[in-house]
Point group: C2
Chain length 248, copies 2
């Protein structure tokens, strides 16, 4: 019978810049070939030194203007704009942007929760797919296991309340399981059905932790058939091309 | 250690109108108090007689006009419009609507895969939260177990490629886990963080089945603390109020 196990990795230390996230996880989880390791963006960013002091940001004119409209800190808005290539919406206190990676989310994914210092904020990794590939290689180097790695963050959604975890980086698993052109159980062709598997893995992992906990890494076992030897296209393949997007 | 198990329910028969979905699942899964049972919208709709022959739909003027623009079957467009309260987008072959329930999705959730007859399509349940409550009661009646029930369907997303399963109905679990105002691990208040748990459960369940398989029900074990005696507000609570939505 098809079965998955989703298990939190306990006992990870407070992550510092330069730490090998993959080695730390491998030391605390009994990883096996074919496991999927879902890592919270926050610890990846911390390990990569992507923490900024708000006091270090010098708000430009656009940041000051938007901050006034939105009731936000001008220094935070400056950092958000620096991480963004386009502002989609700036109203009702909400700033929705396309990040430099091409993800559409609130505040360019910058937030201040689960950081040790006051006045600090955490940016998304520079290249979350590269982060996933590096953590995958760290795991392989530490314990010789071929696991897939997903870097996950919570994004809000149009039309639905609440945030859900999505993959902003991945390595070793295809982010999209494309069923278009394949047949259903009755032999009829399936309509447009490409499943965002990496996002579903990120969401599943979130169920075993909570936002206040120190469980920033989760192992999903039972999907070895979806773990590949190559790193694959990464979560970048989940970005809907702007020209095909009806909701800009 | 926090751990979830996600297990497909095997051996369900082809669902016919009037069948007790809850009793059929309970007969094939060894359910326990605190399990979450995720049921595919398709079998719920079939049990509720929500299958239509395209030949029974008489396209009105608006359906014929949109069908011509989109290159779709006018009878299908007629059914979509009948199930909708508003058309958000009709371009590039895509019809995004707000359903009569208030969900925003493509084609009002109508599709033709996994149906035995040619020319038939399946509509969403009339009231998916009521469906979830009924299936929950059927399970309780059959085996005396207090489980939560989620009715799940695949929705596309703005800005991201691929579909992900979301909850269109739920009973016995809170659809949103609201952390706003609560503290992070460092005692700092979390920013806007309400987690769409019901959607994450739907996504997790999707990982153990595939679109061609006969595994339309999945049991998630290990979240008994999220299963309540009362049915709760249902997935209707996941609809973002139109007035707060920036992407219409």
């Amino acid at each position: 019978m098809a079965e998955l196990r989703v298990v939190g990795v306990e006992g990870l230390p407070e992550v510092e810049e330069g730490m090998s996230v993959g080695a730390e996880i491998a030391a605390r989880a009994e990883l096996r070939d074919g496991d999927v390791v879902v890592v919270s963006q926050k610890i990846v960013s911390k390990a990569e030194g992507r923490v900024r002091q708000l006091s270090s940001a010098i708000p430009g004119g656009e940041a000051r203007r938007l901050a006034a409209v939105l009731g936000k800190d001008p220094a935070l808005v400056e950092l958000i704009l620096e991480e963004s290539r386009e502002v989609l919406r700036a109203e009702r206190g909400v700033l929705i942007v396309e990040t430099r990676h091409g993800f559409v989310c609130a505040n360019a994914g910058i937030d201040s929760s689960n950081l040790p210092e006051d006045g600090a904020v955490c940016l998304l990794p520079e290249d979350p797919d590269a982060s996933a590939r590096r953590i995958r290689a760290e795991i392989r180097a530490a314990v010789g296991v071929s696991a897939a790695v997903i870097v996950a963050d919570s994004f809000g959604r149009a039309w639905r309340l609440g945030q859900s975890e999505v993959a902003i980086g991945c390595a070793g698993t295809a982010p999209l399981d494309d069923w278009r052109g394949r047949a259903d159980a009755n032999g009829r062709e399936l309509e447009a059905t490409a499943i965002a598997t990496a996002d579903e893995l990120a969401a599943a992992a979130d169920l075993v932790r909570d936002k206040a906990s120190r469980v920033p890494a989760v192992v999903i076992r039972g999907l070895a058939h979806q773990v590949s030897a190559d790193d694959g296209p990464g979560a970048a393949a989940l970005r809907r091309p702007k020209a095909e997007d009806l909701f800009r």
